[in-house]
Symmetry: C2
Subunit: 325 residues, 2 copies
């Protein structure tokens, strides 16, 4: 089966439904920025996971599609607000909302997207609507906690790998975990099945974030869509930087500490830091971690009934691990 083609089909379904639910909307001052960000593309990983998780347990795509949109809209809301907090200029090749409009517009459009997400979440033909709501809400709280931990991490002197894993568990993995869980609940899965898909989503989420950190250092910049080394130049406390803080010694340590302290960083430091990451085996170690979490994700759903949807979840995990999506 041509999984790439099928993935494109799912993406197209998400995009089409998004376009439909965004028709109209008054006042335009609120809805124009919402349409701008939501129709600017994106990989649509989370909504596809909602649908595939539902289908893997025999549920229908029709019942899953609105909650899938809810998750995507919520994810985009977090991007809009995070971009204000990070003072980011560009998102998906376009100006961020707070740059194109202003901060007030970005705050308020984000808030409305959060509410809109709940509206779509409710539009499903499931008897387990309370569990679906609770799963979504739990994730929303964790994403906020994760973002707060991330902001803390950037200014704290004492930061270890454990703090980092806790942060990405909430900021990134929680929503992917709950995307899978919501799909499973819509399909009225058993407790074991719901748990299996939650584990899939959580481990995939961790792998996904570690891969993101890795790609900043090793990716082809055209393919990745953001400048290589930007995390290094910004002194972002990634998995690689925190590992390096633990492992490197002597002159290398001074360079890494300079990045950690965000101390007069410029483009010239990128090559030095990359070389250190390679020489100390940090690239290799991160790749192994990505593989480990990806394999754990895949193993989590081994016991589910054999289906095209399950096969596609396995394919998706491997694909994200190689990040060619």
């Amino acid at each position: 089966m041509d999984y790439d083609q099928r993935y494109s089909d799912y993406r197209r379904i998400i995009d089409e439904h998004l376009r439909q639910v965004l028709v109209g909307g008054d006042p335009d001052s609120l809805y124009a920025p919402i349409k701008y960000i939501l129709l600017a593309g994106g990989k649509r990983i989370r909504p596809v996971i909602v649908i595939l998780s539902c289908e893997s347990l025999g549920g229908s795509r029709e019942d899953a599609v609105n909650p899938a949109l809810a998750v995507e809209i919520f994810h985009n809301f977090t991007l809009v607000h995070d971009d204000i907090m990070d003072n980011a200029d560009i998102r998906r090749g376009l100006q961020t909302i707070h740059k194109k409009w202003d901060i007030n517009t970005a705050i308020l459009s984000g808030d409305a997207m959060f509410a809109l997400a709940y509206k779509l979440l409710s539009q499903t033909n499931s008897a387990r609507v309370k569990e679906i709501f609770d799963s979504f809400t739990q994730s929303a709280i964790e994403v906020c906690e994760g973002q707060s931990l991330d902001l803390d991490l950037e200014t704290s002197f004492e930061v270890g790998i454990d703090d980092y894993i806790k942060m990405i568990s909430k900021k990134t993995a929680s929503l992917i975990k709950n995307s899978a869980k919501i799909g499973a609940l819509i399909a009225n899965g058993s407790d074991e099945q719901v748990q299996a898909l939650e584990n899939y989503g959580f481990n995939l989420g961790i792998a996904f974030q570690l891969m993101d950190d890795l790609l900043d250092v090793v990716a082809d910049s055209v393919e990745f869509g953001k400048s290589i080394g930007s995390d290094i130049i910004n002194g972002k406390r990634t998995f690689l930087l925190l590992k390096a803080m633990e492992k490197v010694r002597g002159k290398d340590k001074e360079i890494i500490e300079k990045v950690f302290a965000k101390d007069g960083l410029d483009l010239s430091i990128v090559a030095e830091v990359r070389e250190i990451y390679f020489r100390y085996g940090i690239i290799d170690e991160t790749q192994k971690m990505v593989r480990f979490y990806t394999d754990t994700a895949i193993k989590s759903i081994e016991a589910l009934p054999d289906s095209e949807a399950r096969s596609m979840l396995v394919w998706l995990a491997n694909k994200l691990c190689e990040r060619r999506i």
Copy 2:
């Protein structure tokens, strides 16, 4: 019956439950500002309306209290984000969150409050949880739309009374309407009963906002808790200002247009504008509007079964109309 005393009792119940649900919370960087705003007091009108509406249809306070907290937490979330947008320094006699901490903290703590509201909304013993969620979500969307209309109103040249009523219907009245509706749903009210309480809340919400506009001009500043005339100095497009734009002529018109255009306003203009408002009968007209919407609210619940809770809803409407609460 001593309604003032009973209202204080309800308020205390809300405050105590709020304190309980806010124990703990990690990270502190996220939860400290949430506790700061939520435990700073407030009239607690919306949560009291949730509980009274539920009780008026024979429902229990226990089933209503968590959704009541949800509404209060949501309302406070809107204050936190609106205060950023309005660049407000003070709220309930305390520094606003974005002043005491920073804008990022205010954005993120607000977002977490929104999510927390949904968590509490779900904690009720009602079979009609989907309707409760939908009512809450509809209100959340309308509040965002109302805030966006309000921002538009402040910069638009063509603004009439109709635009103003549409704006406050969404920004202020929607949440009060849905507070009453949620209480009615928890009590498993009939369609007519739910509608009656919705009408009560909506009309009360309109009266409440008109009264707020009026008090800026006529209140005793110590009692009202904000400086008199601040809407005038800020050129805020209130009901009174928009009425004046319709009615006044000649030299008076020039003064009102100066306020409308936010053109070099200072304290000296307050007395002139107040005098115009009185002379053209705008104060009187606004008072009559407040009375009309208050009476409509009270009439909406006339057909409900006689109960202490219903009597107290009537008392509350009259009290807010006199604004001695």
